[in-house]
Symmetry: C2
Subunit: 194 residues, 2 copies
DNA sequence: GTCTATAGGTGGATAGAC
DNA sequence: GTCTATCCACCTATAGAC
């Protein structure tokens, strides 16, 4: 019925994806849809409502990538797949990744609460899998939280170095580097003999 | 002689530090200095010249932190101190760190060449120290570049997770977590018996 | 439901008086 | 060297005609 509303959302999404949050303006959306700016206000209360929609879509996509990771057989495999999901998301939705996970918190609480909830849940899952890995002897005895932070930092660090262009690699080259680096890190968490 | 020019630079610096790059405008600088906006153009060609000054100052500060790290006795200690310097810089110049190291590269080459040069030099030093660590038996046999990427990712990942508020820690708490995590990672790079 | 017109705000930068 | 006045571009959002 209300196809204009959807076309507005799609245009907003496209502007966000291609030019970042600063690239989204009511005028540009309107121009892309083929109406004037005030017409948008018949369908959306204000700009914030449009941006909220974009954020929700992004979080849903991330969620849909992460969920299957937790179905894997072993805790180590679940951990690995979570990292893969995080990587896939960063490569498929780069602008959203940058905006959601690379934007400083700034004094005024700019980070959305929705996002924060998702974030804590991911971390909680990671700690859980690490705990299992320690108990079943896949990893050596350590503090699960500390190990989870280490795993998360490495994965997140790799991806942000890549996203800021500091590794000088293309998508495919980076995927290989990511794979090798994460596997080696996980291997080094095995119990030691000395 | 030209103290107004310095006061303009100082005001620009302060606005940048407190409100980020978006918070710097000719009008606000002028207001803070106590003149009108056009007066600034007698001292600076345009806004870009002002921002360049801020970037140069920041890179100089980072450089002054990193240089002493390379004077340490062992390659492992040099590596550790480089990480510490990076952390100190992120905590002391948070806005600059965010802008320089957490901003996505975007299609149009927005990352300054100066910055890129510094970056590559840091990475080159890291690879060098890692190579020494492998040769003198501090680390097990591995590809130096890969290990350097791992070390750098962990350090960078920890700091960016902290800077985006996702670890939920204050400066001092984070310093402890950082210390423990990095030390443990370096320890796990020792040669293995199995 | 969309339009025009407009209010009221941000910003960078220049011309010409003083 | 600084001022006022101004131009231009951009933005969000509303009022009221159609």
């Amino acid at each position: 019925m209300n196809e204009l509303k959807e076309r507005i959302a799609a245009a907003a999404h496209e502007l966000f994806t291609e030019h970042g949050p600063e690239g989204v303006s009511m005028r540009k959306i309107a121009q892309q849809v083929g109406v004037t700016a005030p017409a948008i206000y018949r369908h959306y209360k204000d700009k914030g409502e449009l941006l909220d929609g974009i954020i929700n879509d992004g979080l849903e996509k991330l969620q849909s990538r992460l969920a299957p990771a937790l179905e894997a057989a072993t805790p180590l495999e679940r951990l690995r797949r979570m990292g893969d999901a995080y990587l896939d998301f960063a490569i498929e939705q780069p602008t959203f990744f940058d905006y959601a996970f690379m934007t400083p918190k700034r004094s005024s609480g700019s980070i959305s609460e929705e996002l924060q909830r998702h974030d804590r849940r991911i971390f909680r899952h990671a700690i859980e899998q690490v705990t299992h890995c320690i108990h079943d002897g896949t990893f050596g005895p350590s503090d699960p939280i500390e190990v989870a932070i280490r795993v998360w930092s490495t994965v997140h660090g790799l991806i942000t170095l890549f996203r800021t262009g500091r590794l000088g690699l293309g998508d495919d080259q980076f995927r290989e580097t990511y794979r090798r680096t994460v596997d080696q890190m996980l291997a080094d968490l095995r119990p030691r003999n000395d």
